[in-house]
């Protein structure tokens, strides 16, 4: 097996035993990038020299007899939403073209400290607003399973990079499904951690009460390895939780007997493609065969998730992207301006793409005098009802199961002109962000020649349990070992 086909765990074992060096592993991944990147277009920037330098340092530490840790020398791709010191961070937007952050996001710094060479920054929907990566201001990323289809979004570049063997691991961010949906569409395992589990410091904000960073990998074991690096309290993010981090890898016991799973009726009905539904039912039956007790559960308010999401997310987004004003960083208009307000308006009108402009306008509208109570406050109240539905479901069930995406990957351009249709791609993932809980997507079959993802949701901070369920499924099945052919 070639180095770029191995999982992070397998690479870590070979690096620790001295069978391969970190430089060899990194070079093998850049050779793969050179081969397939012209087809996939997953990256906005490659950081070859820095990655090789990091790899050399890891090799030096191992030669000196140190143990630099299980992921030292394992390459990683980073979504361009995360600040990387000295390396251009655009967030997929012309607004931030040329922006070189003076600091690392905490998630990035933790990967660096773990000795993981960063291969590059991955493409994404502008400011993480989208479900196909077609809203990038720079390029269209293609799904390695079928180059005519989207990889999902907004973390489509990270998903495509791992699915194409350009990196064994990647970081993404998830506000309404932006890790899980592309993981599903590209046949990967991807985890949206509990709100507060991973620091948001240096994660360029979209919707601050919903955003979380998390891992993409080929299997759940690799997600667990990377979560062990990412999780934990960070003084620089006051919303990061001071909750002990368990040993995620040790938690993968393969034993799920006696666990109780609920299948929300509302997330298995209307709008779910029949082939996807049949595939999910088979996966649920497989887990039942492993000893889990499964029953249907009703969560009536979950049906309102989509409108709640785009009122809350756009309101928070409108506030967050107010910082891009052409003064301290980012695009500044070259048109003549009358005053500083005119400078703001023209710079912003030019720097943001159409989807970002739409969301700023919706969010500003929902927060404006006369509409605040009817839209924003109403959405926050219905959010409470949705969260209550989850609390009630988790009182009786350890995990909840449903599709990650209602369909397999769709064609490039197929939904690009219809923002409402595009948002329907997120109906199964959005409720999770509104409730703040963790959820994992794992590949569980194929439909129309494309991967289908099973979503496993858990109680707050139960990443260990949902990964145990996902790993048990992967120990019993082989879907996660399938690879896109390029």
């Amino acid at each position: 097996m070639k180095l770029h086909e191995l999982t992070a765990y397998e690479l870590g074992e070979r690096l620790a035993s001295g069978e391969v060096s970190a430089v060899e592993v990194t070079e093998a991944h850049f050779a793969r990038i050179d081969e397939v990147e012209p087809k996939v277009a997953a990256f906005l920037a490659l950081t070859r020299e820095e990655a090789l330098e990091q790899a050399r340092q890891v090799d030096d530490r191992r030669s000196a007899g140190e143990d630099p840790g299980p992921l030292a020398g394992v390459p990683i791709a980073i979504k361009d939403v995360l600040c990387t010191r000295g390396v251009q961070t655009t967030c997929g937007s012309k607004m931030l073209e040329g922006f070189r952050p003076p600091y690392d996001a905490t998630a990035v710094r933790r990967c660096r400290d773990a000795g993981m060479p960063m291969v590059g920054k991955t493409n994404m929907d502008e400011f993480a607003m989208g479900s196909s990566t077609e809203n990038s201001a720079y390029q269209i990323t293609r799904n390695p399973w079928d180059l005519g289809r989207v990889p999902g979004g907004s973390s489509g570049g990270s998903a495509a990079a791992v699915a194409a063997g350009q990196a064994p691991l990647a970081l993404g961010s998830d506000t309404g499904g932006s890790i899980r949906q592309p993981a599903s569409l590209c046949g990967l395992s991807g985890l949206k951690p509990t709100y507060g589990r991973v620091s948001r410091y240096g994660l360029i904000a979209y919707a601050s009460s919903l955003d979380q960073a998390g891992p993409f990998a080929r299997d759940v074991r690799d997600c667990a390895l990377l979560m062990s690096v990412l999780a934990g309290r960070d003084q620089r993010d006051a919303t990061s939780a001071d909750v002990p981090v368990p040993d995620y890898v040790a938690g993968l016991t393969g034993d799920v007997s006696g666990l109780r799973a609920g299948v929300p009726r509302e997330l298995m009905g209307e709008g779910i493609d029949p082939q996807v539904k049949a595939t999910i039912e088979a996966a649920v039956a497989e887990l039942e065969g492993l000893g889990m007790a499964v029953e249907e559960v009703g969560m009536p308010n979950v049906d309102f998730s989509l409108p709640v999401y785009y009122l809350i997310a756009t309101a928070e987004a409108a506030s967050n992207v107010a910082r891009f004003d052409g003064v301290r960083y980012g695009h500044r208009t070259e048109q003549p301006v009358e005053d500083v307000y005119d400078l703001f308006a023209k710079s912003r009108g030019e720097g943001f793409g159409p989807e970002v402009r739409l969301r700023i306008m919706l969010g500003t509208f929902a927060l404006s005098a006369g509409y605040y109570d009817a839209y924003y406050l109403k959405a926050q109240k219905v959010r409470t009802l949705i969260k209550n539905d989850f609390d009630a479901a988790f009182a009786k069930h350890d995990v909840l199961l449903c599709p990650t995406s209602p369909t397999v990957a769709f064609g490039i351009g197929e939904k690009a002109d219809d923002p409402l249709q595009m948002k329907l791609a997120d109906i199964c993932t959005i409720p999770v962000n509104l409730a703040g809980i963790p959820a994992l997507s794992i590949p569980c079959g194929m439909a129309d020649g494309m991967p289908v993802g099973l979503q496993i949701m858990g109680r707050p901070f139960a990443e260990d349990l949902i990964m145990r369920v996902g790993d048990a499924y992967q120990q019993a099945t082989t879907w996660h070992t399938m690879r896109a052919e390029l």
Partner: protein, 97 residues
């Protein structure tokens, strides 16, 4: 909801400090209207006596000691500015002499 009224879109664009072309206002009248129509589904939900959720994980105030830590140099802070002079961000004149 039909299209959002043009003057409402123009007012919101002023609040958002977002310069829009005339065609863009046409587009937004339609697209905002379509999404807000969908959002109106929420009006049917009974939320009497329900508190809004702005933060999902129970958390009280977070305190820490006020200690001097690492910080950026002024040069680093202005390094990404479109226009700067010495250690300052430069913007057009806002106050008349």
């Amino acid at each position: 909801m039909p299209d959002v009224a043009r003057d409402v879109v123009e007012h919101v664009s002023t609040l958002a400090r977002l310069a829009l072309s005339s065609e863009e206002i046409d587009r937004l009248q339609h697209e905002m209207g379509r999404i807000l129509e969908h959002a109106d589904k929420l009006q049917a939900v009974n939320t009497d006596a329900i508190q809004g959720t702005s933060h999902v994980i129970p958390m009280i105030n977070v305190y820490r000691e006020d200690q001097v830590g690492e910080s950026l140099t002024p040069e680093e802070v202005v390094a990404n500015a479109p226009d700067s002079a010495d250690e300052f961000f430069k913007v057009p004149r806002t106050v008349e002499e």
